[in-house]
Amino acid sequence: MAEITIVQAVNDALMEEMGRDEDVVVLGEDVGVNGGVFRCTADLFDTYGEDRVIDTPLSESGIIGAAIGMALYGLRPVPEIQFSDFIWPAFDQITSELAKMRYRSGGQFTCPMVIRTPYGGGIRGGHYHSQSPEVYFTHTSGLVVVVPSDAYDAKGLLKAAIRSPDPVLFLEPKRIYRAPKTEVPEDDDYIVPLGKAAVRREGTDFTITCYGAMVPVAVEACDKAADQHGWNGEVLDLRTLVPLDEDALLASVTKTGRLVTLQEAPKFTGYSSELSAIVAEKAIDVMEAPIRRVAGFDVPFPFTLEHVYMPHADRVLRAIEDVMTYE
């Protein structure tokens, strides 16, 4: 086992998958010679050459559109969008073309690919280097949406995503790109299956759902709840937002009867609202308290006040207290 960062895990996964399958190509802005502005594609250019590691012109629409064309012909592209905040010029390609190609052609054409992109706050990036856009994609039928929370998952999920026959949006939590390191098997072929949530901390008193950079925050809040109140919370890391592991969600709330959802994206019509809706539809009678959502505020992501904006363990703890003390 090696201890590595998420950046390294992503890089390892790309290096190995490109070695395994020569149809895998990487393209994007600064991914080649420069190795990516976060170094996720470091050394790929030297190893696999400029034909498979492509520095593109500055056009996200072009990057995703070209990747679609490559995938139609049988390549397995892994385009990078430098920051997820810059994915919008490509949104037409993603929602109108990528997500619908298999369906609209009656299965005649498919374009499996993995769009990698760093997302989220906590690095003092202001509006355009901090946003969490997951819900725009989870509502788009035809896409798989994945968010790893540590190096083990980052590597295993990325490899699974590259081998998947479906288009995958792979959101990388840049706030925890370099810390904390986690152990990753040496085995080149380990995979973390898409569509399975992971219990990061078992508990019986309440459930917290989370993903990406919010997972360590949830764990910390649970630890505080245990320390301060003796409550034993369960942390459910969703890992794949579509398809959601609904069974894991329902199993956990059935056990605990109390739910706090956690996300850093703005709250209104955010991803976690779906979790509330599912529980309210399928398990309302097991709930012993209101479902509390901890989320970003419904404002553009701020710069100087980002530390106030970002959900932190104490804020989550307050929500835990709310649901635990509810009668």
């Binding site: 190509v25 034909d51 498979r52 593109t56 012109p57 056009s59 629409s61 072009g62 559109g65 070209a66 990747a67 679609i68 064309g69 490559m70 995938a71 139609l72 012909y73 049988g74 390549l75 592209p77 010029p89 037409d92 390609q93 109108s96 073309e97 619908k100 190609m101 298999r102 369906y103 609209r104 052609s105 009656g106 299965g107 005649q108 054409f109 498919t110 039928s141 035809g142 798989v144 998947s164 026959p165 479906d166 569509g195 398809p243 959601l244 609904e246």
Partner: protein
């Protein structure tokens, strides 16, 4: 040659006005002509079906047959075509069957797209004709990606992409042309400049003196062609395909033509234009090519009669068959969203069947959009 000069081989009375370098043998010329007739016949028949309420929507291409058929003939079996919605002739020329196209317009169980898209949004994998979608321009950059893959895989295949004058304003005209220029893609960009984008005339679409000149912005050659002259189209597209195949790089072609009919079955052009269409009637590409063939004794009134009757009979027979087919089965609403139907979609399907059964009737009064 200035950017508004235009390649023409057949003049308006069928005479040869510049050297014919196509080298096409007589039987190919006749095949092209018959395909143009078939395209026109299909147009008339399908618009008719739409007017009768038997299909819901159609996009006519009357007057643009030379552009479609002349370019459709050029590409080889291993080449890929990224078409627009207004070019049934190209697909016919590549071997797509009229019956399959009609089934698409009916959206029934024989439609290769399983009735999931509107009429005329074809998809023919067997002919390497990539799925057509409605958003304008998105496919232009797809062709460039495919061309890249062709080169990476060391084939000598070529990607051909077709779009309208309106399409040149889209984001992915820009990204497609730009990426292709940098990558020296084996890609041919074919713009049918029919001078209208629904109601918007070319001069409100762009101030550039031509579409062809836009190629300069991307470091590739641009050529303007008489799009109503099937031989000029064939020759220009051939040259561009040869250039791409040889690895020299992409080309932009502008085929000058005219949208004689409405934009679609939902459109009423009298609201926004006069009768310029008349002027273009005299430049009819079928008539012109017929005159050319007749001058060379390759065609006659008799053959015309025979051919057009045969084409119409074939179409009518196909329509008759296709009309009997049932709609696609209910479960096709849930398949092909993903490679395998995921659990949550299976549950949605099962819940639907459980609560509503399978006996859904379509609303016959539902209207159609553009």
């Amino acid at each position: 040659m200035t950017s508004t000069d235009m390649l023409q081989i057949i003049g308006e009375s069928g005479q040869t006005v510049s050297e014919d370098e196509t080298g096409l043998p007589p039987e190919k010329l006749v095949e092209m002509y018959e395909c143009m007739l078939r395209t026109r016949a299909m147009d008339e028949r399908m618009i008719n079906l739409q007017r009768q309420g038997r299909i819901g929507f159609y996009v006519p291409s009357t007057g643009e047959e030379a552009a479609q058929v002349g370019s459709g003939m050029v590409f080889g079996a291993d080449d890929w075509i990224f078409p627009s919605y207004r070019m049934p002739g190209t697909l016919l020329m590549r071997g797509a069957s009229p019956r399959a196209m009609i089934a698409n317009c009916y959206g029934n169980s024989e439609d290769l797209c399983l009735g999931r898209q509107m009429p005329v949004h074809y998809s023919f994998a067997e002919q390497n004709v990539v799925s057509i979608s409605s958003p304008i321009g998105t496919h232009i950059i797809h062709a460039v990606g495919t061309a890249y893959a062709m080169r990476l895989r060391k084939t000598d295949a070529v990607a051909g992409v077709f779009f309208g004058d309106g399409g040149t304003s889209s984001n992915d005209f820009h990204s497609g042309m730009n990426f292709a220029g940098v990558w020296k893609s084996p890609c041919v960009f074919v713009c049918s400049n029919n001078q209208w984008a629904i109601s918007v005339p070319f001069e409100k679409q762009t101030a550039s003196e031509s579409v062809a000149v836009k190629a300069k912005a991307y470091g590739m050659p641009g050529v303007r062609v008489d799009g109503n002259d099937v031989l000029a189209v064939y020759q220009a597209v051939s040259a561009a395909v040869a250039r791409a195949r040889a690895g020299v790089g992409p080309t932009l072609l502008e085929l000058m033509t005219y949208r004689r009919g409405p934009h679609s079955s939902s459109d009423d052009p009298t609201r926004y234009r006069g009768d310029q269409a008349d002027e273009w009637l005299s430049r009819d590409p079928i008539l012109r090519f017929r005159k050319f063939l007749e001058r060379q004794d390759l065609w006659s009134e008799d053959r015309e009669q025979e051919s057009s009757t045969r084409v119409k009979d074939e179409l009518n027979a196909a329509i008759k068959e296709v009309e009997k087919l049932p709609p696609p089965p209910l479960d096709t609403m849930f398949t092909d969203v993903y490679a395998k139907v995921p659990k949550f979609l299976r549950e949605q399907y099962e819940h639907l069947i459980e609560t509503e059964g399978t006996g859904h009737e379509a609303d016959p009064d539902a209207a159609f959009p553009l």
